[in-house]
């Protein structure tokens, strides 16, 4: 065991971790932040995506010790302190971008990663960026729509709700 310290959503947090402790496990079990979901645990589904030093990674496929000293953002840090959803979260709600919600934390974190470098992505660019995020409910359509709406684009011509 050694102590691992990271700045999570702006707050410094520490806990003891084993070599094998995954970042996803550290966030969920050591820090009690269960917003980051673990779907496949094999780096396929993207439910566990968080940002480490500003870059989207699958937290089930990174050791907690590799994130020692890093700045980590998770879904818990996306809404304002009073609970007001950010633009992307609100767009997911408005455009029915989620059903069971299991994939949503990873979808939001991956989408935020895209909008940072590409503020007005095309539909094809959104779909391409989400290749590593699997959703078993929505058929992706409303997820894509929500992300395009959050980037300030007119989505009225994109087909049915």
């Amino acid at each position: 065991m050694s102590q691992v310290t990271m700045t999570v959503n702006g707050k410094e947090m520490s806990s003891d971790a084993e070599g094998r402790t995954l970042l996803s496990q550290f966030l969920r079990e050591n820090l009690g932040m269960t917003g980051t979901h673990v779907g496949c645990d094999t780096s396929q589904c993207g439910a566990c995506v968080v940002h480490v030093d500003g870059v989207a990674v699958k937290s089930c496929t990174m050791l907690a010790m590799e994130a020692d000293g890093a700045a980590v953002s998770t879904i818990e840090g996306q809404a304002a302190d009073d609970g007001t959803l950010n633009t992307l979260q609100q767009a997911f709600q408005d455009h029915h971008g989620l059903q069971c919600g299991f994939c949503t934390p990873g979808m939001i974190m991956s989408a935020a990663d895209l909008l940072k470098t590409n503020p007005k992505p095309s539909e094809a660019e959104v779909r391409h960026h989400l290749e590593g995020n699997i959703c078993r409910c929505t058929g992706y359509h409303n997820i894509v729509k929500a992300i395009m709406a959050a980037s300030g684009q007119d989505v009225s011509s994109i087909a049915a709700e």
Binding site: D41, A56, V57, M62, N133
Partner: protein, 261 residues
């Protein structure tokens, strides 16, 4: 995953020393190794991260004009930074998905030598030099069949040098579930001839398609690509038969030449 001791040295020398223990394994992006350890197909007692070593990061141009990529440079950094070799930058940008590209590295990919991986095709078609802590290995000697390379136990890839071709292109026929190559072909045209490397197709792993190299060296056009190679020795699985893969080799080579010229 069984527990292990974790070390993150900041120099190549310290990493080599840490890897001297028999049960130690190098960890780069972890995109292959960590899933393997979760399945208990690997159970090192010590894991040595190569990501704290600044001399293994980054992209530069060597005196001979070759593109030199640090062994621990991520696919995302190569996609964004290898503009001197657009065919290779595009290959890196097409690996997996954004989160995989953020962590996965060129050294990890070449050390693993997955028979469906992209980088082995890029390195072999470029006649790249694999630089390790101990020596320099020509790509033609480096790849030795599926998941097998010339690397010794605990030898680490510190840099890869890619001679920059006049024209190049990588065509990957994606296996949609894994996003690896069902078949991938990298074509690189140099002043002294054309090199064609094929991944995903053969039971021997990545290999050169010499018949196509000869034809394309004489006439670099899609029409010059020979008929598909034989299906003998091609991989057959639920995603495609051997004949299907052999057919793809020729189709993708044509597409790569058309896109490169």
């Amino acid at each position: 995953m069984y527990n292990f001791e974790f070390e993150k040295p900041s120099s190549i020398a310290d990493a080599v020393a840490a890897l001297g223990d028999e049960e130690a394994t190098a960890l780069s992006g972890g995109q292959t190794l960590l899933p393997t350890m979760k399945q208990r197909l690997a159970s090192p007692t010590k894991v040595v991260s190569l990501l704290g070593i600044s001399e293994m990061q980054g992209i530069c141009t060597g005196d001979d004009g070759a593109l030199c990529i640090g062994g621990a440079t991520s696919h995302a950094d190569v996609a964004a930074g290898a503009s001197a070799y657009p065919g290779l930058a595009a290959l890196a940008g097409g690996i997996g998905d954004p989160a995989v590209r953020a962590r996965g590295t060129v050294g990890g990919s070449l050390a693993n030598n997955d028979p469906a991986a992209c980088y082995p095709a890029g390195a072999l078609a470029s006649g790249a030099t694999i630089v390790t802590n101990a020596r320099e290995i020509a790509a033609d000697d480096y790849f030795q069949g599926m998941f097998t390379t010339a690397l010794d136990e605990s030898e680490i890839i510190t840099e890869v040098r890619f001679p920059v071709p006049q024209a190049s292109n990588y065509q990957k026929f994606e296996q949609p579930a894994s996003r690896f190559a069902l078949v991938g072909v990298f074509v690189a045209k140099y002043a002294d001839g054309v090199r064609v490397a094929v991944t995903g197709a053969s039971e021997e792993g990545v290999h050169r398609w010499t018949a196509a190299e000869e034809a394309l060296s004489a006439n670099f056009s899609a029409d010059a690509v020979p008929a598909a190679p034989g299906a003998d020795g091609m991989i057959a699985d639920l995603h495609g038969t051997a004949a299907y893969r052999a057919h793809l080799v020729a189709v993708l080579t044509k597409r790569a030449v058309a896109a490169a010229s």
